[in-house]
Symmetry: C2
Subunit: 345 residues, 2 copies
């Protein structure tokens, strides 16, 4: 079995380890943040970790009522500017913990007086040394080039931190059910495998979601670009309707992430419009009415609420990227031009 | 002459009106922000205005040393969450001033205690009523569906505000030279027209820039998607090398925005790598060594510094989107599926 496919399936166990191993540490970090009463939080990341940070921004704003900024690391590392972050908390996210620009952002934030936290999978990494406190992902070594289990563990770590900070016991309890829910979701594998061949010659597509799942479509697009060389462009429904919809038309492939929750109605409306315009749609949802609008439906077997849904909804896209890569005669574990730890120019 | 092409050429006059008409008003707004000593700024926008806001984020962080967040309007309008913004300043950006979600974000920010500013082209708009203070773009009515002169005026308004806030007289003086510089830049029209036909059947491309010009490539991609139906995906050089480069290869079209300044060296290095991998590259630059690496070079006639460069570097892409649309038998003023004022679902 390939590394990527094997690590997709390791996700329930990895999430379980994280939940058990970091609860106490994360509660302590949340306490420290609460006492600081920061004016804002800032997340610094690149690649898949940046997609996880996109989720973190929605989560922190919605769940904690705090403005959350996504840092532009080049402000620090290329333009060498100092930002006053005394009144903020800065969280770096990196699977390897060796992204120089993220670590430099943390170092400068700490020097300006901010409390800093690192979220990484690598205990002895540079990030673990530079941040005030560290959350360990405990995903186990990730050998696949395309991040899978570290991505979902990053989402989980942010949910644990956000729920602890909000004192949201209902969410903390709900998180305990996530590893089992991901395990059930792995059952989409056969359906995804079945529909993949149809997209053997797809050269471009859009992937659409919104709110908490804007992160999911960004990450899904990145997996497709990395492993299958499709120009896959992610959009929030709002941005998509503001202009890019003009480039689509009959037969144009659109992948839609349609979980239950507040975004369900506007996304179902969008799916109807895409059908009227005769686009080719692949829709992941647990809602039968939404699935009926699809060219190819992927029925999600579990519905555990919109906030937690990004952990479940990335799974069909991880499978899809893996199988499409194989269908194209490529190796998802060895994309051309890439290395596991990317140094930013 | 079409509306889009005519409005591209109106940009020097529009920028001149804005510089003269809003200097005093903007200085007053900057004074008010300075006295508030905010912990952060937040920008709320959609579409082209959101691309201008992307520039604003870099500008405010680099020039003013303040953390700047890009608001996710759906946090307020769909999830109905309250964010504590007392210690921040919130700036809405909308050409029409009628984006419901942006106005709702401003209203809630103001209710939570934040000072709010609207940047709009429409004096009697809902935005002008909801914000504490307003900056008027003075671009004149924009009839083209694809925003051009309102976009560059938004960049200029943000530079005027940022320079006033920083008390940066050198930058304020430099801004006075920008309308003439844009006027000189309009001379790229003939070169852009000359190379456009080559891309008649291009279905997908990437557009790469970084730092202040990450906004430029986002906006360039949006113009191409709207008017020419190309799947044009914008990337910062850093993100591009982190994964998406895998999907390229010989003949893959990459457009590169390569102004002088701190990003010039890493971007020239990237251009060399793209050439080694035999991509098709269209490079806009004033640097002869960088232009030599291009499949098709667009020599920028003026170099007025990296910070101001986004106003100049969007111009060749505006021309390109317009001419490519025409070459494809489309009408850049009437993209399918779009209306000028987009209501967010």
């Amino acid at each position: 079995m390939g590394k990527m496919i094997s690590e997709i399936k390791e996700q329930p166990a990895a999430l379980e380890r994280l939940l058990k191993g970091e609860r106490r540490n994360i509660a302590g970090i949340a306490d420290r943040i609460r006492k600081l009463d920061p004016a804002f939080l800032s997340l610094a990341a690149r690649g898949s970790s940046d997609n996880a940070a996109t989720f973190g921004k929605y989560l922190i704003e919605c769940e904690n009522g705090l403005t959350c900024s996504l840092a532009a690391p080049s402000v620090h590392t290329v333009y060498k500017k100092k930002i006053d972050m005394r009144r903020g908390v800065v969280i770096g996210v990196s699977q390897s913990g060796e992204g120089d620009d993220i670590n430099e952002t943390l170092r400068l934030a700490r020097a300006s007086g901010a409390y800093t936290v690192g979220i990484t999978n690598t205990p002895g990494s540079a990030m673990a040394a530079v941040a005030d406190d560290v959350i360990l992902l405990r995903a186990g070594v990730e050998k696949g080039l395309a991040a899978t289990k570290t991505y979902t563990c990053q989402l989980m770590a942010m949910m644990m931190l956000s729920a602890s900070l909000a004192g949201d016991r209902a969410l903390l309890a709900a998180l305990d059910g996530v590893p089992d829910a991901v395990n059930e979701t792995l059952a989409v594998e056969s359906r995804v495998r079945e529909i993949t061949e149809r997209y053997r010659y797809m050269e471009r597509c859009v992937i659409i979601g919104r709110g908490f799942n804007y992160a999911t479509v960004k990450e899904a697009a990145l997996k497709l670009m990395e492993t299958s060389y499709v120009v896959a462009q992610p959009f929030s429904t709002a941005d998509f309707m503001h202009g890019p919809i003009a480039m689509t038309g009959a037969g144009f492939p659109a992948f839609v992430c349609a979980p239950s929750g507040r975004m369900a109605a506007p996304i179902r409306k969008l799916c109807g419009e895409l059908r009227d315009k005769q686009l080719e749609t692949v829709i992941a949802s647990s809602n039968p009415a939404t699935l009926k609008l699809a060219s190819k439906a992927i029925r999600m077997p579990v519905d555990c609420g919109e906030l937690v849904s990004p952990i479940l909804y990335i799974v069909p896209f991880q499978f899809f990227a893996n199988f499409l890569s194989v269908a194209r005669g490529l190796d998802p574990d060895n994309p051309r031009f890439l290395k596991k730890v990317t140094k930013t120019l």
